[in-house]
Symmetry: C2
Subunit: 480 residues, 2 copies
């Protein structure tokens, strides 16, 4: 018997709020600043494990972590005019220090291109120092006027990993954008998150970019969620700051840049993507607790002590092998009540230990996703758990990709697209001539958002709007 996934997919928004608060990931909507939330200890650990994974991928590829100030002076932020136009309606401004009005306003960083370019101009003078790849993991602030949603659309994004790189040539920067997409693909693959990679349309690229590549997933309610972006910034910012470096041929020129980011949304996806009506199923790789041990009360109460000490032995065996395990020996709950709590928290593996296990020297393992169980000898339990986790991670990923693929469909008419997006939801693909006017028409007629086009254009067919020969597909979705 499997756990139903009806509420999870049909009432996803309620499901998500329920899980975040009841499983104590993130307390949202009660702290008295709109669009902000508190990472509670359990959620904080999940966040930390996800961050550690991302850090290791970035460090392996020569990225260097640093930390910039939060505040950006208005004059600096306004150096690049396209950029500030894209952000100025959502900037929080600090205007007052103590009782004094500040001479210049400070923005709470909405993103850090200008700050980092400013410091790069002091640090990096010539091509021998290039490329340079920096990143930081910080809070960024957006005065969102749209409806806010926990971890998905907030005013303080508390987990914004922004990378900023500097290169001698346009092509070097373009290759770096590809590396960024590769790193993010590995990151999402490790977490079992399915995604599509699209080149955002001209009218929806990052403010101040040559082009933007984005990775989108689909949430259980069928809406697309942007979970990573990479921007080729060209010389926009370096020109705006009149920052030149010496090139290999001795000439001075503006260096080329990229930036790329992921946010809290990745953690929202990790929590959501493998859910069911009992709660989330966290990937073992990042689950704060991989295994919970539940002692089963004995018929003969004198045996309870034996059960408990056996459970503690198993616990310490697991912990000493590096398995993040916990024992729920609370007295005020039945095993059933405990199952409920730990399923809601998304712990991937449950161990039940009663007198049967004590006398036979075994351990009873149960998978959170399929509810399949297995009795294994106590000695081999660590290997069994590692193997079970490996299979579970694969199965979860395969299921998520299967569901994702079912939600990506090609259409010949905008009416069908509209119907598809309004009923099932997902990502629709149509053939497209490549023109902005037809792209905007598609958005208008389907009342949806264009995600962009595949990176490798495909010929054939005709544009769904103008009927001219198509040069690529265009992807459309209801988005967050």
């Amino acid at each position: 018997m499997k756990i139903s996934r009806e509420k999870w997919s049909q009432n996803f928004s309620q499901w998500f709020d329920w899980v975040l608060s009841q499983a104590e990931f993130y307390d949202y909507g009660r702290y008295p600043v709109k669009g902000t939330g508190v990472w509670m200890p359990y959620g904080f650990k999940l966040r930390q494990n996800v961050i550690d994974l991302l850090r290791s991928l970035l460090d392996q590829t020569g990225h260097e972590e640093l930390l910039f100030p939060l505040l950006i002076p208005e004059g600096l932020l306004k150096k690049e005019s396209e950029h500030i136009r894209g952000f100025e309606r959502e900037v929080f401004w600090v205007t007052q220090g103590g009782e004094e009005k500040l001479e210049e306003r400070f923005a709470l960083r909405p993103t850090s291109e200008v700050s980092i370019t400013f410091m790069e101009s002091l640090w990096i003078k010539g091509y021998t120092q290039l490329p340079r790849k920096f990143y930081q993991i910080v809070s960024v602030f957006r005065y969102e006027t749209k409806a806010t949603r926990p971890l998905i659309r907030v005013r303080e994004l508390t987990t914004f990993k922004e990378a900023h790189t500097l290169h001698e040539t346009y092509d070097d920067a373009a290759r770096q954008v590809n590396e960024a997409v590769e790193i993010y693909s590995k990151f999402f693959d490790a977490l079992g998150i399915p995604y599509l990679i699209s080149k955002r349309p001209e009218w929806d690229k990052f403010a101040g970019a040559e082009y933007t590549i984005a990775l989108d997933t689909i949430m259980p309610d069928g809406r697309a969620l942007q979970i990573g972006t990479a921007h080729h910034l060209g010389q926009h910012f370096t020109k705006a700051m009149d920052y030149k470096v010496q090139r290999a041929d001795g000439s001075l020129d503006y260096p080329h840049q990229t930036s790329y980011g992921v946010s809290d949304r990745v953690i929202a996806t990790v929590i959501s993507i493998n859910g069911d009506d009992h709660g989330p199923i966290l990937p073992p790789l990042v689950a704060p607790i991989e295994v919970v041990i539940i002692p089963i009360p004995a018929k003969n109460p004198e045996d309870d002590q034996r059960v408990l000490s056996y459970a503690k032995e198993v616990l310490s065996m697991l912990r000493s092998s590096g398995v993040r395990a916990t024992l729920d020996d609370s007295k005020d709950k039945t095993p059933g009540e405990k199952y409920y709590v730990w399923e809601l928290k998304g712990v991937p593996i449950r161990i039940e230990i009663g007198m049967r296990e004590v006398t036979s020297g075994t351990v009873f393992l149960k998978r959170r996703d399929t509810l399949e169980s297995k009795v294994v000898g106590r000695e081999g339990v660590v290997e069994e758990i590692r193997e079970l986790e490996r299979r579970m991670s694969e199965d979860l990923k395969a299921r998520a990709w299967k569901e994702f693929r079912e939600k990506v469909r090609a259409f010949d008419s905008l009416d069908d697209v509209k119907k598809f997006l309004e009923t099932r939801g997902g990502i629709a693909e149509v053939r497209w001539c490549g023109s902005e006017s037809c792209g905007l028409k598609i958005e208008e007629e389907t009342n949806s958002r264009v995600l962009g086009a595949p990176l490798e254009p495909t010929g054939g067919g005709n544009c769904v709007v103008c009927g001219k020969p198509a040069s690529n597909s265009l992807r459309i979705a209801k988005t967050y």
Copy 2:
């Protein structure tokens, strides 16, 4: 021959600025917001290692990490009147969101007592949930009007570890303050930082506290630096918010709280405390690089390749044993120039590898602090390094404590105190009757700051001001 420590102690302020910028720890004073700086990659790693050490001490003692929003609404911040009076002159205010004036101003957190108490009142309803110990590591903001100094007095403290705990009784909270002091003592001991523990005088306790215990060290220039504080908050904040919990006897009462913090100043101390004229000497426990390998060019250039591949073998042997090692094989610098760079960066151990080492299968180790060297067989190099690090850490700590103790002296007259603090500097102790008026007089006459009294009062002698019988000593210093 030892490296001189004259500039380090005589011109400490310049020494510190030089090290921070030239060794690429922290770029200060160039980012265009006064009192802020950028953690550069090398400094960021040191910061990260120090944070990891602190986290492990807190996690071991049942503290739970979480993360609160940065912004605090003015109304919430003003709930506790003593507290806001202590902070209001140094609060940065956000007043504007996009083009709109905000209905209520938001403070950039100067500290988080009120936010955390507010959420605790939603989470924790009764004594069975107590005690609860939370912490977060965040940026806090102070609109400092005094002269700012990198990592020591800044407007954005980027590494503020603040713990907040909740208890049923006053005594439980008092015991928690003691635990906090114990944890900080272990933390500073592990880093080899000497300190004195003092109870801050009434007139200098934390705004909203029953009492404050502080840990102070002495910087190379003789000035005292507060590096940790722990506050018994009593029921100040819970009463201000009318937050009660159910006690064991069934009654409802305001819970008791503590808070305690350390900041960037710890990292400033780690960099400063063991310096000499070539730079800092970082404790091996937290040094971003424990060992740097420098290849020595061979007489016969054809041998250079053998030297380099031998050096690479040693490097990978060290790394695979978990030693944070690096190889400086840059072509454009002489070994002497490389020594200069890595000494400036404070790397505790240097390995030199030339043909002599290649042919004899040995490794030449050199300590950063004493310049003592040792030739060891290649096979045993990891054990030798671990042993050398153990001795170095002990020696550095012993030296720092010896220098510290020489700077703490008892005096019978305020004139002598004044002379001592104005010439050598350090911490002076005088006998004291315990009255605030005599304490303030001591500050005034010595033009210095009272740090407070030892936790265990000692009788005997007479107050240096009024001549009445003394109840304790009082500590005085020039402070940062």
